[in-house]
Amino acid sequence: MSGFTLEQLSSRLGSHIESSSEFRGENTYFVAPEKISEVLTVLKEEFNFDYLVDLTAVDYLGIKSPRFEMVYYLHRFGEQYDENIRVRIKCSISEDKPAIDSVTSLWAGADWLEREVYDMFGIVFNGHPDLRRILMPEDYDEYPLRKDFDVRNREPSKRSFKKALSEGNF
């Protein structure tokens, strides 16, 4: 499909888009969290957004409600791999049970990026094949990139060290 325009995209997705914005030439579309896999599937299958550039989350504690926002950034290669069409899809996730559908079935590259979000924010990805912590230790019990994480509080690491000592497992 050549001659792709953002109007085609917004008319196809239509009611799924809650709001959209543009800043510094980047287009952001807000969708409902339960619609996220449907929207991303349409983008991948029908609009050839083959390359998942980035996947991350942001914690807006005390600024927005619901608290978390997932951010997907997609790229469309085009016929000659010379297009630079990129869109950002966002959806919000509530605090009490942060979970969302995994997109690893659409892009295999989402695997580690989702694990990183799980590791740093505690957002659970339903359907992820191997959801484990990736950068922090396996027995770590906090989520460092949440805004209420106390940077100066070193207690959790002490706790896990003591725990390891008491179990003789180190």
Binding site: Y51, D82, N84, G109, L135
Partner: protein, 406 residues
């Protein structure tokens, strides 16, 4: 670990028991290029499954950046891909400039210098990538040739910014100081010497029977799989996808330079090596064009709210002193919003996703590291191959753990 599964198969001889062997490669293994641990599940010498474990070098750069001004974030970016720290610096500075919306105000001299330095960074990184890949496969002399030449790149970086490894060089708005007088001479000297070494490494590796045997057909990944995994850089172009951000999204006026994007089609370790090798030649071509057009003029934009005043004025004028104090302590305020800016780093697309809340400190920074994403392809590349091929695969993806772990 719960993933351990033993295969118990009753063979005809009941005394024989078959089971898969677990081999822990790393985190201190020299060929893992840092502190990477790969757990290999082996059937004899054939890899059934390779599971990479990362995070040994995690420093929480993204969290640290939330508490400091944009300019203070710059030294942290050095420590991600420390093989080509200048490229990370330039990527970060370009992202902040995009957030501020001041791309058009950056003087030409600063832009051209940044192009020269990022291409030097690319050469530096590819020299390490090729050299260590060859050394892992037993070719010691190619490694020494590469590292000898990398020192010359470091020498140039040293005369430009004083540091060799952790450069922290450009500033938001341009360059921190006028370029040294011998900069142009140093670059021209490098352009004269470097092709000779490149030809020597070419002779040592490109048609080297042993090197070809160890890399051709090894760690193969098809174009569809590479795109699906989100691979970028030479790892993607080695599979035949001519995607390069310098062409598709020409930042720093890359569209005004004449260069090719090298592509190889086999998708194996040898193809990725060929891509890297040719990219160094193309980088030389870009540097040559850039040094010819390096214009005179201001080296930093005239933006009093963002750029620090001249040191001389800070000592002599009250207003400049106040400005200096405010910018150092509070940083410069950025408009609220969010941007993503990707640059073509030697290893692939490095992107910074910055969320600003309107203050002088970033609300959230996410780094999309090329090594982090490219590394995911390792289990696929290693599956069904020999242990020795895993070494070739890791070297051919060209990872750096400082960036994976951040």
């Amino acid at each position: 670990m719960e993933r351990v599964e033993f295969i118990e198969e009753k063979s005809s001889d009941s005394n024989l028991r078959k089971e898969s062997m677990i081999l822990n490669m790393g985190p201190q293994h020299p060929s893992t290029h840092g502190v990477l641990r790969v757990v290999l599940y082996l059937d004899g010498e054939v890899v059934q499954e390779a599971v990479p474990y990362v995070g040994y070098l995690h420093r929480g750069i993204e969290k640290l950046c939330e508490d400091i001004t944009y300019q203070q974030c710059l030294p942290y970016t050095d420590r991600m891909d420390y093989i080509a720290s200048i490229c990370n610096n330039i990527g970060f500075i370009l992202s902040v400039e995009k957030l501020l919306g001041i791309e058009d105000e950056i003087p030409e001299r600063a832009k051209v210098t940044e192009v020269i330095l990022s291409e030097l960074g690319r050469i530096e990184s590819h020299l390490v990538g090729i050299g260590t890949n060859a050394m892992d496969l037993g070719a010691m002399s190619a490694f020494l040739f590469c590292f000898k030449e990398r020192e010359r790149v470091y020498d140039i970086l040293e005369i430009v910014c004083g540091a060799r490894l952790t450069t922290s060089y450009p500033r938001v708005g341009g360059l921190p100081a006028e370029l040294p007088d011998n900069f142009e001479e140093a670059i021209r000297n490098f352009l004269k010497i470097f092709p000779k070494t490149l030809n020597e490494v070419d002779k040592l590796l490109t048609r080297n029977k042993i090197f070809i045997e160890r890399t051709r057909g090894v760690a193969t990944i098809s174009a569809e799989e590479a795109i699906n995994f989100g691979l970028t850089g030479p790892s993607l172009r080695g599979s035949g996808v001519p995607f390069d951000l310098r062409k598709s999204n020409p930042y720093l006026d890359y569209d005004q330079y004449d260069f090719e994007v090298p592509v190889a089609t086999d998708g194996d370790a040898y193809s990725r090596f060929l891509c890297r090798f040719e990219e160094m030649r193309q980088s030389l071509k870009i540097i040559e064009q850039a040094i010819d057009r390096l214009p005179d003029g201001p080296f930093i934009a005239d933006l009093p709210d963002i750029v620090l005043p001249e040191k001389q004025k800070v000592y002599t004028q009250m207003e400049s002193l106040i400005r200096h104090f405010v910018i150092v302590y509070n940083g410069f305020n950025t408009p609220p919003g969010e941007i993503y800016h990707g640059v073509e780093n030697p290893k692939g697309e490095l992107g910074y996703y910055i969320v600003s809340d309107g203050t002088g400190k970033p609300y959230r920074i996410h780094v999309r590291g090329p090594s982090f994403v490219n590394m995911q392809a390792l289990p696929l590349m290693a599956k069904g191959r020999l242990v020795a091929d895993v070494i070739a695969a890791i070297g051919s993806i060209d990872i750096v753990l400082g960036e994976i772990d951040r």
